[in-house]
Amino acid sequence: MFARSALEVARTPDQRADESIEGRRCERCRRTSALPLVRCPRCRAPMNAARFGPEGTVWSATVVHLERAGSPLPYQLAYLDLDDGARLLVGVEAEAAAAVGSRLRLCGRTEAGAPTAVPA
């Protein structure tokens, strides 16, 4: 009996990869996380891979006027509370600033591998 490594899980094909993210769910208490945690922060049991998405509600958002990846253009970030659990930081691809409480839909990843979302 051996544990599936995080790397093995990441290679599992998923046709809707763009509209979901791989997070974790605790095998004992069912707590969810958007991050690849190995043990549950609440009960310390192992966490298993789980997919979340595609939609969620904006908990907070900000338009950032700092250089990122060599580009001087402002970019928008939001903490998105996905409907099936987990709070995820996403890059928002939209003209207007997303309001707190508005709905976004996951839509892919940036070159750096960070998840992105658009107004739902």
Partner: protein, 373 residues
């Protein structure tokens, strides 16, 4: 009541762009001021705090200023690195491990970063571009949405602290600003603007501690260190709030005081929202009323609790590892009646709060709260 440990001497360099001055030159001033203040010329051990120092940086610095050959440990705890060094130094003398210890905080940022500190690429949120102004902006944006703070109240923090900093010869930014200037300054991470943010700085600060202290010593009644738990969809508060609140609760219990007893507070105003969240979590203002507290003048030098009489991080600057010890120096000077133009009329009990983060999904990497009398 029995103190945890005693601060015999403090020192802190001017904060700002070091320019031609080397870090060793800044350290010489801060450290030898602290030693002189304590009326000693040696220590048994050194605890140093710095976030971005290269390996061996503390030893390199100390060897250059006549303090080589003394055991040193360097601690990284984000913005709480300097107070972490003091917390460990205090514990070392309290338990009798050493008799006299130097706590040293140092940071050189202006030659390392062009603009703000670059987010950590190995962090999931850092990778997405969540620089520290953006992290704090998330709290500000949420607070604005919930009606817990107004744009004017955020500006009031900056106006107050820049005004206080005008009387601090060691502060980086010493010209006062108006609310109009704050609100018109260029956006950094909305709703935070340039004048809502502390400036990148270089600096060194130090403190000499012993278990009991002499006649001029300031007593640390309590010192607590906590780390943040998970901060995610299950969190009801903004980032960092829970950590500061829990650390403060433990510190007040240890000291046998309540926040209403505090005459002054040096808190983590890396961004204007930071001061508001801090004073609520510290119990200086009621939850959701930190902005109103500042706006009403209750945090002014002549208010019921002077918050950041030094000018805070917003005015003094924020060389990460040095900040906590500079906050401690201010409280020590205030308690001793040595704060010059910033001197409060009746300073008997003060609190220092530092909280730092940068790990995704975590409610702050570390928080240290200390009560001094």
């Amino acid at each position: 009541m029995t103190a945890r440990f005693a601060i015999e001497g403090v020192g802190h360099s001017p904060f700002g762009k070091a320019g031609e001055r080397t870090l060793a030159s800044l350290a010489e001033g801060a450290v030898w001021d602290a030693l002189g203040d304590a009326e000693v010329d040696s220590v048994d051990a050194i605890y140093a705090g710095s976030v971005f120092a290269a390996p061996g940086a503390a030893q390199r610095l100390l060897s250059a200023i006549g303090l080589g050959g003394i055991p040193v440990v360097t601690i990284e705890n984000a913005c709480a690195s300097g107070t972490s060094a003091l917390h460990e130094a205090g514990e070392a003398v309290r338990t009798g491990r050493y008799e006299r210890v130097l706590a040293l905080g140092f940071e050189q940022l202006t030659s390392r970063f062009d603009g703000p500190i670059a987010p950590e690429p190995s962090d999931a949120e850092g990778r997405a571009g969540l620089a520290l102004p953006a992290l704090y902006a998330m709290a500000a944006s949420r607070y604005l949405h919930e009606g817990r703070v107004s744009r004017e109240q955020l500006a009031a923090v900056s106006v107050k602290n820049r005004g206080n900093g005008a009387a601090n010869p060691r502060a980086f930014l010493r010209d006062p600003v108006s609310a109009e200037q704050v609100c018109a300054s260029r956006p950094i991470a909305e709703p935070l603007r340039l004048l809502d943010c502390c400036p990148l700085s270089d600096g060194v600060a130090a403190a000499v501690v012993t278990a009991r202290g002499g006649s001029r010593a300031v007593r640390v009644l309590a010192s607590e260190h906590r780390a943040g738990g998970a901060w995610d969809h299950e969190s009801e508060r903004v980032w960092g709030y829970g950590l500061v609140e829990e650390t403060a609760r433990a510190t007040y219990e240890q000291a046998g005081i309540s926040p209403a007893d505090l005459d002054l507070a040096e808190v983590h105003d890396a961004f204007t929202i930071g001061e508001i969240v801090s004073i609520e979590a510290l119990g200086i203002a009621a939850e959701g009323e930190g902005g109103a507290f500042v706006q009403a003048g209750r945090a002014d030098l002549d208010g019921e609790c002077a918050v950041n009489p030094s000018g805070g991080l917003l005015s003094r600057g924020h060389p990460l590892g040095a900040t906590g010890l500079a906050q401690v120096a201010e409280v020590v000077w205030q308690l001793r009646g040595e704060a010059g133009a910033r001197q409060l009329a009746d300073a008997r009990l003060g609190v220092v709060e530092t909280m730092g983060g940068g790990v995704a999904g975590t409610d702050g990497n570390a928080c240290i709260v200390m009560v001094l009398a």
